[in-house]
């Protein structure tokens, strides 16, 4: 349960950062918070207390005590995606700074309606 709450909190913090912080870097960190939260959520879905890895490494393992392997696979995929997103975001921030000489999102408003 604590994992769910933790993950949701992480998402909430991420959203808060994205919503309130005006520094580009902080926004990116916020995004990362969100994705970390989501990843944690995924993992916790498949998590079983005192479970084992979902590998029949030795005999006698009860499949019911194994953690669900699929969320882990999903998480891996998600992490990869997040990483690429992060890279792209940072690249954008660099370019933005080059154009605007600022990292304040409030000042980056050349495009409006």
């Amino acid at each position: 349960m604590i994992y769910y709450i933790g993950s949701l909190l992480l998402i909430a913090v991420g959203l808060y950062a994205v919503l309130v912080k005006s520094n580009l870097i902080k926004i990116i960190i916020g995004l990362n918070f969100i994705s970390s939260g989501v990843n944690l959520l995924i993992i916790s879905v498949g998590y079983i207390n005192n479970g084992t890895a979902p590998i029949f490494s030795r005999l006698g393992l009860n499949p019911n005590t194994m953690v669900d392997p699929i969320p882990q696979a999903l998480t891996l995929t998600a992490i990869v995606i997040d990483a690429s997103e992060l890279a792209l975001a940072v690249a954008f921030v660099v370019l933005l700074y080059r154009h605007y000489k600022t990292l304040d999102i409030k000042k980056i408003r050349s495009l409006k309606w």
Partner: protein, 496 residues
């Protein structure tokens, strides 16, 4: 599977070409720009092969990795997917031709790689039968799109790209949360399986997941008020990309929403909420478009409006509504892509995106202007163009059970159509009869651009004057959606 028509090829071939592009770029750069054409050419062949089977049996399923569903990720092409995949491939193919003349900015290989990835992701999103796979496709599309929006790397492009990235990432995260919720509740990721297992869930549970998915896909699908990235991103991107973004990417996200809503969240309340979203999107899109000075921004807002329209039609939750919605999707994809491609060529020639600078282009760029007019007419829904038939269908569907709310909605839709007419006619009038700037010396668009939008325009004219096959097809699709035959056929064909 059967007859050599492998839906998996729709994804596999272009993905392979993405690698090929990156591979060739280091030593054989000249060939790079032609590779997407080949990729989507092959895709078109695959689609052509798929057509008889899909139309005959209603669905083609192909599984991966040797597992049986629901464990395996399967690729499912039913009639609706086929329509969208076909549009995606056609647009991909045409825009790939377009690119040849259009893109001269470096780094070209990255552009082509990302472009191929973008279209692939879209097609992937449409044909996948697995909900997590949907997310992956979604993210592939998004990341490719982020990159492409920022491709010009000037001030506007970077800003738009960054905004899009932030919103898209949040959307992706929310979508994933929704998917995980579903998984946690049912323990499966296969859509058919999910549809069957989720019957036992309560509405509250479903709705929680649905709202997360809705936010994720709604951001990508440009539903108000989640669409604020769109009017920035579409103008900032190269026109070829705008065509894809507007023409098929938002549509693909909406498709995913359709599919999931139809399969798992088939509740009256949800449809009612969606109605409001559709209407709001329509209103804000069209009204904003009216005030734009920048042609691509105008078209972008118009995309929002169109999205609202076909989303509204979908939310009517009736066979006629579905049919109208899908017809409108077809109309929108073709016409809006056409408009973006044409304006891209024009912007290339005159070097400005201001509508007043388009004055007098009707004389200088005859073909471009002609197809711009055709696209605009079709979007406005003037007969005899295809948009007329789809709008007719939507309105008829909306008034199937006329009550006050429906009549009011129809009035709003019609009013917004008037607004749409207002800005398009302003554009056309300026283009054809405006006084051109002094010594405006421009020629017709380059060959690649000309070829691509001419083909697209001819397609539009063809479906306009001979809409019967599409009307019949969409009728079938609508019936499929109504009867949820996706599940039945998938079960019969071993999609589970």
């Amino acid at each position: 599977m059967v007859g050599g028509a492998h839906p998996i090829l729709l994804i596999a071939v272009p993905l392979f070409f993405v690698f090929l592009i990156v591979f060739f770029s280091s030593f054989f750069k000249g060939i790079v720009k032609y590779l997407p054409i080949i990729a989507f050419g092959i895709n078109l062949i695959v689609i052509y092969q798929l057509i008889p089977e899909v139309l005959g049996k209603g669905m083609v399923i192909s599984t991966t990795a040797g597992f049986k569903p629901p464990l395996a990720i399967d690729i499912v092409v039913d009639r609706l997917s086929l329509i969208l995949a076909a549009i995606g491939s056609v647009l991909g193919f045409l825009v790939a031709i377009y690119n040849v003349s259009y893109i001269d900015e470096e780094p070209q290989e990255r552009y082509y790689a990302l472009f191929t990835l973008l279209v692939t992701g879209i097609i992937w999103m449409v044909v996948t039968g697995d909900i997590f796979n949907l997310f992956v496709a979604f993210e592939v599309t998004s990341i490719a799109a982020f990159g492409l929006v920022g491709f010009h790397r000037d001030q506007g492009a970077v800003e738009a790209g960054f905004k899009y990235l932030v919103m898209g990432s949040i959307g992706g995260g929310m979508l994933l949360v929704g998917i995980i919720m579903l998984y946690a509740a049912t323990g499966t990721l296969n859509m058919v399986d999910l549809a069957q297992k989720s019957v036992h869930l309560t509405f509250g549970q479903k709705f929680l997941a649905y709202s997360m998915i809705f936010i994720g896909l709604g951001i990508e699908g440009a539903l108000f008020p989640l669409n604020a990235w769109l009017p920035d991103a579409h103008p900032a991107a190269p026109s070829s990309v705008s065509a894809i973004l507007s023409g098929i990417m938002t549509t693909a996200a909406i498709y995913a929403l359709y599919r999931l809503t139809n399969l798992m969240f088939d509740y009256k309340q949800i449809y009612t909420i969606l109605l409001f979203f559709g209407l709001l999107t329509l209103i804000f899109g069209e009204v904003s478009a009216y005030f734009q000075q920048d042609i691509k921004r105008m078209l972008a807002y118009s995309t929002i409006g169109q999205t609202g329209l076909f989303f509204f039609a979908f939310a009517l939750d009736s066979a006629n509504g579905f049919q109208g919605s899908i017809m409108q999707i077809i109309n929108h994809s073709v016409s809006k892509a056409l408009l973006f491609l044409v304006t891209g060529g024009m912007i290339l020639r005159i070097g400005s995106r201001k509508i007043e600078d388009f004055a007098g282009l009707g004389r200088k760029m005859k073909f471009s202007s002609f197809f711009l007019a055709i696209g605009a007419f079709s979007l406005m829904g003037l007969p005899p163009f295809f948009g007329f038939w789809s709008k007719l269908k939507i309105i008829f569907a909306a008034l199937q059970n006329p009550n006050f709310f429906m009549v009011a909605s129809v009035v709003i839709i019609l009013l917004m159509s008037v607004v749409e007419g207002a800005y398009f006619f302003k554009l056309l009038q300026n283009m054809y009869f405006g006084k051109p700037a002094e010594n405006l010396q421009i020629s017709e668009a380059p060959a690649g651009i000309l070829i691509s939008f001419t083909i697209l325009g001819l397609i539009l004219i063809f479906i306009s004057v001979y809409p019967t096959p599409i009307i019949n097809l969409t009728h079938q699709v609508a019936n499929d959606l109504m009867s949820k035959s996706y599940i039945n056929i998938a079960l019969r064909l071993g999609g589970l």
